[in-house]
Amino acid sequence: MKTMFFAFAMTIVVSFGAYFVLSNMGLSSAETQSAPSVRLD
């Protein structure tokens, strides 16, 4: 059971990790699909 809860915890950690990595890679639809002249934030 300990392994199961550890796996669930890691799942949450990796999800946040994926979010931070991806949002810093400039891959969002807004960034990939707007022209350079568009100010996004």
């Binding site: 392994t3 796996a7 669930f8 890691m10 799942t11 999800s15 979010y19 990939t32 699909q33």
Partner: protein, 398 residues
């Protein structure tokens, strides 16, 4: 000259001279509207019938036929506003936009309607009946067949079934899949179920949360799918034993315990279904995660057409690629959920002693003998060999 002969010749001439235009009117159903849509076309479209719209699609003006710039419509260069709108309507005109990306130049895309309607009707219905059906079936099975017990009761002795890292991989896969299922269903049914009951605000908040979880937890699912494949593929190659197992109904339906190694035929089906459907749902999911970057349907349809002789469209607009990915993603995911519900049932309440395999990793020896007799023999032979063999080898192996 005979007046009659001249008259007959004149009639014959007029008949032949006029016939072609008669014939044209008879074959061209839109002659009366000068080539534009007829009432029949409009009514057929309103009834959702198939209308061949090539006559409009191809009617986009003719620059060669343009009036001089001094003429009444000269400045339009032989293309009228109606011609231009038809070009926009059929995505067949050179559009310049300041936005980047392949989708920005598609202003009207009527495939969107069939995507929306398929999602709102068939997919939701299939999901509701499929998931509802399996839950009813499993409940009925539980009450009719009851929990499968260890015959003669547990022995009290245990044997290691899955190592820590195997269970870790399984639970990463299971945890992420269950979260993906719940959030995916919220996104699929939000408009139909959550808005009417709880209103737009609740649905908005839930949808926002769901898409965040769905997009990010998907990575855990993909990584653990690869891990599970690598860890267990060698135990899941089909063999003759599986056929025997299937013929005996796995001992679930009938009585008696067919022979099995580490995984029986039923588990192999779950394994391959998880791997193949999981890979497919991951690929279509990646295509959705990176919009327009990973189109895969035109190519897939092309291969299917050449191998299977089907006639799927291979000339897809950027939006259409996304729509096919979206529909396919939902179809595969729901099929997987239905199968996995049965797996969860048998791995928990359905069978005494099964959960321990993934809980503590230690299963009762009697349970193992009844469900995986040949695996127990193999493990015991291995243990005997390593303790009977040279001590250094078994020490090093540990």
């Amino acid at each position: 000259m005979n007046l009659k002969v001249i008259g007959a010749a004149l009639i014959a001439f007029l008949t032949f001279a006029v016939t072609p235009s008669y014939a044209n009117e008879a074959t061209d159903p839109r002659a009366t509207t000068g080539g534009a849509q007829t009432l029949e076309d409009i009514l057929a479209r309103q009834q959702g019938l198939e209308v061949d719209n090539t006559f409009r699609r191809q009617n986009q003006g003719n620059p060669d036929n343009a009036q001089p710039t001094s003429g009444a419509l000269g400045s339009l260069g032989g293309i009228s506003d109606a011609d231009i709108y038809r070009g926009i309507r059929f995505s067949d005109v050179d559009i310049k936009v300041s936005n980047k990306g392949p989708a920005a130049e598609i202003l009207v895309q009527d495939g969107g309607m069939s995507w929306l309607l398929t999602r709102e009707n068939q997919i939701r219905q299939y999901a509701a009946y499929g998931l509802g059906g399996i839950l009813v079936a499993l409940t009925a099975f539980y009450f009719i067949r009851g929990r499968m017990t260890i015959e003669g009761g547990p022995s009290g002795e245990t044997i290691e079934r899955f190592k820590n890292f195997e269970r870790f991989g399984h639970w990463c896969l299971a945890g992420s899949f269950i979260m993906l299922s719940i959030t995916g269903l919220i996104l699929l049914f939000g408009r139909a179920v959550i808005i009417p009951i709880f209103g737009h605000q609740v649905n908005g908040a839930l949808a926002n949360f769901s898409i965040w979880v769905h997009n990010n937890i998907a990575w855990v699912f993909m990584f653990s799918l690869v891990a599970i494949f690598l860890m267990w593929v060698k135990h899941n190659i089909p063999n003759k034993l599986d056929w025997e197992w299937l013929k005996m109904g796995g001992g679930i339906v009938g009585s008696g315990h067919p022979h099995a190694k580490k995984f029986n035929a039923g588990q192999k089906i779950i394994f391959w279904m998880t791997i193949l459907l999981g890979a497919s749902v991951s690929l279509s999911g990646l295509s959705l995660l990176f919009p327009f970057e990973l189109p895969m349907f035109a190519k897939t349809f092309g291969i299917m057409n050449s191998v299977l002789g089907t006639a799927f469209p291979t000339d897809l607009l950027a939006h259409e690629e996304m729509q096919y990915a979206h529909l396919w993603h939902a179809i595969v995911a729901i099929t997987m959920m239905i199968a996995i519900l049965a797996h969860i049932y048998i791995g928990s309440v359905g069978m005494e002693g099964a959960f321990d395999a993934m809980g503590s990793g230690q299963v009762d020896l009697e349970w193992a003998r009844q469900h995986h007799d040949l695996w127990v023999e193999e493990e015991q032979a291995k243990a005997a060999a390593s303790s009977g063999g040279t001590q250094t080898v078994s020490q090093a192996g540990k």
